[in-house]
């Protein structure tokens, strides 16, 4: 009985040792992955920040104003003025769709010469 207990304990110790070994390496792997992800996130942030800055720089009001002036012929952009506001009743209703012509009459003008009609 005692011998069985001793052997069992030994086996448990070996099993736990093996488990701890595996956990250790799994943790190290996970930490490495986290580090890589952080580096990727950091690089992504850096890139995003750079793109944001560039976007803001390219969309600065002075530049947009100059571009609107340069391309006035093509785009006709003006500053937003009070006249730009409309009322709902200034918008015309869409025209009702025309009904399809069902009883159409074929009219032929073959061989007809202008001025020679009845």
């Amino acid at each position: 009985m005692r011998a069985i207990l001793v052997v069992l304990t030994g086996l448990i110790v070996v099993a736990l040792g093996f488990w701890a070994y595996r956990e250790n390496y799994a943790t190290q792997q996970a930490i490495k992955e986290v580090r890589e992800l952080h580096a990727a996130i950091g690089a992504g942030h850096e890139r995003l920040n750079m793109l944001d800055a560039e976007w803001a720089y390219l969309n600065r009001p002075d530049r947009l104003r100059d571009l609107a002036d340069l391309n006035f012929e093509r785009l006709g952009l003006l500053p937003l003025m009070p006249e730009a506001f409309g009322r709902v009743d200034q918008i015309s209703y869409p025209m009702p769709e025309q009904l399809p012509i069902l009883n159409s009459i074929e009219v032929s003008s073959d061989n007809a010469i202008q001025g020679e009609g009845l």
Binding site: G42, H45, D62
Partner: protein
Amino acid sequence: MIRTPLRPLARILKARQKGENPDAIESENKRLRHESMRDGARLRAEGRLLVLGAVFFVAFSAIGIKMGVIANSVPEEPTAVATGNPIIGQRSNIIDRNGRILATNLDTHSLYAQPQQMIDPELAAEKLTEIFPELDHERLLKDFTGSRKFLWIRRQISPEQMQAVHDIGEPGLLFGPREMRLYPNGPIAAHILGGASYGREGVDSAEVIGVAGVERQFDSYLRDPANEGAPLQLSLDLTVQAAVEEVLAGGMMLMNAKGAAAVLMDVHTGEILSMASLPDFDPNNRPRVLTQGDQSDSPLFNRAVQGVYELGSTFKILAVSQALDLGLVNPETMIDTQGPLRWGRFNINDFHSYGPQNSVTDVIVKSSNVGTARIALLIGPERQKAFLDSLGFLNPTGIEMPEARAGQPLIPRQWSEISTMTISYGHGLSASPVHLAAAYASIANGGHRVIPTLIHSDQPRPLGPSVMRPETAQAAVSMMRQVVTRGTASFGEVPGYEVAGKTGTADKPRPTGGYYDDKVIATFASVFPASNPRYALVVTLDEPVETSGTEPRRTAGWTAVPVAAEMIRRVAPLLGIRPIIENPELVSVSLNSH
């Protein structure tokens, strides 16, 4: 093992035959047996001691080796804790109320040299001056060949310049990472943002610190890593700010003014949507502080916040609304406006005479100094001082900029009756345009104190303490509306936006005492739309003169008002205010028959 008997029969019998004592044999055998038992026990004990010793030796060796390893390895943080995002350590961005970037960071590099590692200092100096023409070749060569071990060459370089320096191939030229504060919109909102520069510098990094404006005011917030890069959201609207600055710059040029300021404020929250001061500067390349002359001539000077001016007749509405609120007058009460009004050795006069009597409304509409002074006399100094205090005119505005503390209003040391009269029409008390905008906002929002702020908040702010009754505020707005429809600010009419306001033209005080004859501060303070005021706008021009007529005109009605009107026309649609159709004109129908 074979156990030897203590009394072996053969030997006992033999001993008996010889007549010896057989007990001797037994004791002899006992002795031998005891000896062998002792030897065995000793051997076992020695073995155990040896094993124990070995175990202890191995254990202590293991500990000793581990200690040695720890002592010899580079110390390292336990990496099991997830490290924070490295980029979050940057200074936070500043954004406007719609999330557009006002200030951000850019990663650049700095260039430094370690001359003792240089291979060809002469070539390096020559190539560097080719890349950076502003560097001095002689000086660089002296530094490179001298005894210096380290020197900065440039604080910031662009990627192209960095590549060019790389191409020199000199191992003694090294790069360090640098964060650069970038203001992508250039001079727009320059005074509010302020600027940033480097604090403590190292090879691997440099501290970016705010030097003025909100960058300085919120420096610790912007640098706090606990915010995890959360941006600072200002109440400004970039589009509105750009439009205001454009119109103001145009107006300043047309009116030949040497400076101008504008403040646009939400009357309910006190949030400043736009604040401009001209001339301005580029915060990316902040100019140096003037070392001589008047600081108020520097482009760094913020006229809207730091500049305290006598704001002239714009103050009249304050005196009149207080008199209305106290029940001393009503809008129809007739006031003696016969000038000049003599008080001791002072004479108070009007721009020109407005007749012997005018109603309170007409005192405002025609802007009569005499009439306002008489109304102020009814109020008295103590009540006037308390009222102006409740509107915030006796203290700096509390706007979130370090410059705001410089905007301490100048108030008379002794608040006498003559002070009361002059202050009622805006002389004798100097305040900043932001003060005035806050006071007009208080009138426009139904009489609640407004604290100007630059920080946007989505939560509704609690109403400030009441400074006047809502009916009084409404009456005051109605009077200001009449100033525009039939008074001194007729150029201020913007169809659809019901502008209500008050002009103010104040003579500039001479530094030596007294006032200039031909230098004025022209101000137009307005609220719009009058039927339900939402925004307050103050436009101030410094020394404007309008020269289209036969003689130069300097009054605010000819200078500040047209600029403010154009500003409202541009800005109100951007703020999403739909024009109100006040009197829809009937289309005339004429019947003709041919």
